[in-house]
């Protein structure tokens, strides 16, 4: 089954070590949150899983496949789609072109068109805006388009980096409702969030990162009740 497993992973940006000895597992269909403050290395974990950053040590496996040596552009075909921090849409492409880029790796336009209708059903707002340039949409619409693009890749594991960033509370609610719906279809999710509250409410399990290391892990409800987590990240 499609299980993600990192063990003993370290990674560097140039000479600066960004990740130290990361052990992390995502079981099929699970929502796992990674919480921690700015600069703790949460984004780097996602970038390492999707091949944008190469691990220097340790092993990185998904679905029995070794991802540590895979090129970044081949990771998506093993069933992992990454929605990067700041959405990173193709700004001067239309919404529809952005979505079709999600299906690029499958090289099958007919299949892409079928999935397009599914994404438009999930996000009717995107259907209305299909010909608009992605860069001209509001933050919430861009986040929907970014998630839609990832779904077009037909992932079994979705990496979401700060999906709530810069969005109004009402929009955040919609986005997280969609995330739960996607998960209900059996797609595993790794959720990186600065808002620990939101992340722990959504996830089944969670990891807490500090300075490039995982310092705590466990059931989301257990972390929610952990005194240190409550004090440092939940402001309680």
């Amino acid at each position: 089954m499609s299980r993600l497993e990192l063990s003993g992973v370290s990674a560097f940006y140039g000479d600066a070590q960004a990740l130290f000895d990361i052990d992390l597992v995502v079981e099929p269909g699970e929502i796992v949150a990674i919480i921690g403050s700015n600069g703790a290395g949460k984004t780097t974990v996602l970038r390492t899983i999707s091949g944008l950053v190469k691990p220097r040590n340790g092993s990185l496996q998904y679905d029995g496949r070794d991802l540590a040596s895979a090129t970044a552009w081949s990771v998506v075909s093993s069933g992992i789609a990454h929605v990067p921090e700041g959405r990173r849409l193709f700004r001067e492409m239309s919404v529809q072109e952005n979505l079709m880029m999600g299906a690029y790796h499958r090289n099958n336009v007919a299949d892409g068109k079928v999935d397009l209708e599914r994404v438009y059903t999930l996000f009717p707002r995107l259907a209305e805006r299909r010909d608009q340039l992605a860069g001209t949409m509001s933050g919430g619409e861009q986040q929907m388009a970014a998630i839609g693009r990832a779904l077009m890749a037909r992932p079994r594991l979705l990496l979401l980096d700060e999906p709530s960033l810069g969005l109004a509370p009402k929009i955040i609610e919609t986005v997280f409702k969609t995330i739960r719906e996607i998960n209900a279809d059996g797609v595993g999710i790794v959720l990186v969030e600065q808002s620990a509250q939101l992340a722990l409410e959504t996830a089944q399990r969670a990891y807490l990162m500090e300075n490039g290391r995982i310092v705590k892990s466990g059931d989301a409800s257990a972390l929610m009740n952990d005194d240190a987590v409550r004090e440092a990240y939940l402001g309680l």
Partner: protein, 294 residues
């Protein structure tokens, strides 16, 4: 210029558009490379030069008709472009200070190719005959068939490029890479392959311009440098990385130069185009079609 009869004026405008369409071909290659890879290619003029020589050899040594010699020349220049990118640029990408090292590497390739051409073909200028002779009179304007053919080829090449960029899978990948390299990789684009092929296409566009201009300008090892400089003027004028900008910028420079040269003299050619560049950049420092940096 102001005492010029109207048909002559119109004739010069058309000649300017013809010249400008060639500038546009050269500049669109530079702008494609900048747009996708964010680097300057200083060997671009030498792809133009190689296009000229290959065309000359196919025409004069093998006696091929232009209709065959043009596609063969640009295909060969395309392959040279792929090889140059793989050997000189590709190994440097992503390494520290690659923006600078790739620039120096392409400058090295430029010097190498100029000297190789000098050794192989000598310093005597070469010429090829017009593809078709004769002129046509349209409402008082006298236009040569050769120049009209050049214009038709340029328009055809632009339409092919538009189709490639907007309607093909490779074009999607290229545009995605240009807009956001990481996001393109995340969704399955092998950006390094896109870089190599883009380089080849850019080289082929320069080669095409050379085959078209071979019968008007002469062929020499140094023919590339002035045209590349003009290409940079056009790219900056049109906006770095903008394909429509390269076309419109090329045509503007072509027309202004042609009118300027008959009004003053051909010695003023470069002065005129750089004056236009400086003037436009006063008002739009990001170029006609470029995006204002926020």
């Amino acid at each position: 210029m102001f005492s010029m009869p109207l048909p002559l004026f119109a004739e010069q405008i058309i000649n300017g558009i013809v010249l400008g369409s060639m500038y546009a071909l050269v500049a669109s290659g530079l702008t494609l490379i900048w747009g996708t890879m964010r680097m300057l290619n200083f060997a671009h003029g030498e792809f133009y030069m190689l296009g000229g020589y290959l065309f000359f050899l196919l025409i004069s040594s093998l006696g091929l008709p232009p209709a065959l010699a043009v596609p063969i020349s640009i295909s060969l220049v395309f392959l040279v472009g792929l090889a140059v990118q793989r050997l000189s640029v590709h190994p440097l990408l992503g390494r520290p200070q690659w923006e600078f090292s790739t620039l120096v590497a392409t400058l090295g390739v430029s010097i190498f190719l100029q000297n190789a051409a000098l050794h192989i073909w000598g310093e005597r200028f070469k010429t090829v005959p017009y593809f078709i002779n004769g002129t046509i009179d349209i409402v008082g304007m006298r236009l040569s068939y050769q120049r009209l053919l050049i214009l038709a080829v340029a328009i055809f090449a632009m339409v092919v490029m538009w189709y490639l960029l907007r309607r093909t899978r490779f074009g999607m990948a290229l545009r995605a890479t240009a807009m956001d390299r990481d996001a393109a990789m995340l969704y399955g684009v092998n950006v390094y392959r896109v870089f190599t092929i883009t380089f080849g296409i850019a080289a082929a566009l320069a080669g095409l311009a050379a085959t078209m201009l071979a019968s008007i300008n002469s062929i020499s090892p140094w023919m590339g440098a002035p045209l590349m400089l003009k290409g940079f003027v056009v790219v900056v004028l049109g906006g770095l990385g903008s394909f429509p900008g390269a076309i419109l910028g090329g045509i503007i420079i072509g027309i202004v130069e042609t009118l300027g040269v008959i009004t003053w003299s051909s010695q003023w050619r470069e002065v005129i185009s750089f004056t236009v560049l400086i003037f436009i950049l006063w008002f739009r420092p990001w170029g006609l079609f470029g995006v204002k940096e926020s």
